[in-house]
Amino acid sequence: MEYEFPDDIKYMKTHEWARIEGDMATIGITDYAQHQLGDIVYVELPEIGRTLEKDSNAGEIESVKAVGEILMPLSGEIAEINAIIIESPESINSSPYGTGWMMKIKVSNSSEINELLSVEDYKKIVEEEKK
């Protein structure tokens, strides 16, 4: 099974990704994660304006057979959430890095970006999990 691993984003070992643009970051879950979860039926995201710390719980993602936690890759304030995935959660399955993005945050501590994984490091983690 070939998964997508874009190289213009950073990763978490818990399978979230973050695309940094200036002081904003777009967050979602990886192609590997959506595949593991199966058909996604529901997403719960925090309210706009809420501030959350890195690694804290930022919502839940439900498939027919499992529930997964979404963790914050970086600390920040929730600026925007993607209405498309609320209406059509299956977009996360079909386009996890594109229309299936989950939320945009205002990054409060840019030094945390260095703690995120590069695409190569994340690929290694997926390889380990597949064993």
Binding site: V41, Y42, E44, E62, S63, V64, K65, A66, V67, E69
Partner: protein, 447 residues
């Protein structure tokens, strides 16, 4: 499906896998002095001897011809159709379905139960049921704290004292604060930290609350606070405005009045219903209806299971993974055999008979109805001598009303009277006589 027990060979294999020598080792955490080595059981009896034995035991029971006792469990007529249907062995012996989709019959029954409850209460969604009214209330309270992410609850006085105790127990384990307050303190006590306001209507003392007014007061001061209603005798829905037409967010009730014998105080039925927006946080099982992928045939299934603890684990709002299947079936048969007109008739009789008793009691000097709000089938009465009344009722073979001092030691000489469609004119006349006799015997110093 056959029952296939483990044989010695299988047991030995399993023990080997987990690395122990015998079954006894599985219990090694139990202190040795608590392990029972032998049960001192007498020899078995023959069937006629067993029947004789049980009959003698049963004759030790005092069975009253009629009851004026309510306070959470009620005597209502159970149509023979209920027993007829639930006595089918497929229903009677089977608990609740696991590998549920193989039990289409029971799933359909539960689906129908959910549907009638939803219709009767006018709430968007009802689950397959909880254990009883009290635990359903506790689960609703927990659900509210999860939805709002707040940690405090307000319980209005008038909730059945045992229900409040159950809610307290559930909350203690989860570190949730709760306070029981009088309704007039609501304005002062409500703030943004409150997850929900819980109330009972008709309440423990019989008062029917103005739910719309209460909802308005709560939602105006704290718009994010949930409103949870509980009810101990839902036959009142035959005449009262259903919760779905108010701003009640979660509705729970004790379903025993729907076709379940009071027995010794159980089993009960936890009716649980909520507004649609809370669907994904609802505890309990939910039965849904669906179509097969390759055709048009419909089938029933357990749905939205990602709510439940076997998938959601510690993030689930409850660890319940069952429902009161047989009791929910009883309630379903009760409700549909009565139908809309039957339920209205039952409720109307309850209301009118109770009202009649109120009037007759008021005619006796020394008896005073204390309710200031309208009531359904229960009301509280100040009596000249509660012990005398209890004695006189028993003399006339009537199960006496509840003495409030059982739960509220400072409320002496007040009883909670319950009158249902099961109280005939004769039994009501007897009760009024008992009340009159209690007066005379008190005067004469008799007990």
């Amino acid at each position: 499906m056959d029952f296939v027990p483990h044989d010695d060979k299988t047991i030995t294999e399993m023990l080997k896998v987990i690395g122990i020598n015998n079954l006894e080792e599985l219990f090694q955490d139990i202190p040795k002095d608590l392990i029972i080595n032998s049960l001192n059981l007498p020899l078995g009896l023959s069937e006629p001897d067993v029947l004789k034995n049980l009959k003698e035991l049963s004759q030790k029971n005092k069975v009253y011809s009629n009851s004026f006792l309510g306070a959470g469990y009620y005597f209502h007529y159970i149509p023979s159709l209920v027993d007829f249907v639930i006595s089918r062995t497929e229903f009677y012996t089977s608990y609740t379905p696991y590998q549920a989709e193989a039990s289409q019959g029971y799933l359909q029954a539960i689906y129908e139960y959910q549907s009638v409850i939803s219709r009767l209460t006018q709430m968007d969604v009802a689950n397959a049921s909880m254990y009883d009214g009290s635990t359903a209330l506790a689960e609703a309270a927990i659900m509210a704290t999860i939805i709002t992410r707040k940690n405090s609850l307000l319980l209005l006085e008038g909730i059945h004292p045992e229900y409040s105790e159950v809610v307290k127990t559930y909350c203690w384990g989860q570190g949730i604060n709760l306070r029981i307050i009088a309704e007039n303190k609501l304005k002062d006590e409500l703030n943004e930290d409150i997850a929900a306001v819980l109330f009972q209507s008709p309440n423990f003392f019989g008062d029917i609350e103005d739910v719309s007014m209460l909802a308005k007061r709560v939602k105006e001061k704290a718009p994010n606070c949930l409103l949870i209603q509980c009810m101990t005798d839902p036959t009142c829905l035959g005449v009262l405005k259903p919760p779905g037409e108010t701003d009640v967010d979660i509705f729970v009730a004790e379903g025993q009045s729907f076709g379940i014998s009071p027995s010794f105080g159980g089993p009960g039925l936890g009716i649980f219903a909520a507004k649609k927006k809370y669907l994904r946080k609802m505890p309990g099982r939910l039965v849904g209806k669906t179509k097969e992928i390759d055709g048009e045939r419909e089938g029933f299934l357990l749905t939205l299971q990602a709510r439940e603890q076997h998938i959601r684990r510690e993030k689930a709002s409850s660890n319940i993974c069952t429902n009161q299947a047989l009791c929910s079936l009883s309630a379903l048969i009760y409700i549909i055999s009565l139908g809309k007109t039957g339920l209205r008739e039952i409720a109307s009789q309850n209301f009118q008979k109770a009202n009649y008793v109120k009037i007759k009691l008021t005619e006796i000097p020394g008896y005073e109805i204390l309710n200031k709000k309208p009531t359904y089938n229960e009301f509280i009465v100040k009596c000249p001598d509660v012990d005398a009344l209890t004695h006189e009722c028993k003399q006339l073979n009537l199960l006496p009303p509840l003495c409030l001092s059982k739960y509220f030691p400072n409320l002496k000489n007040i009883v909670l009277v319950c009158v249902t469609e099961m109280n005939s004119r004769e039994s009501i006349e007897k009760f009024i006589n008992a009340a009159k006799n209690a007066l005379h015997n008190k005067k004469e110093g008799k007990k």
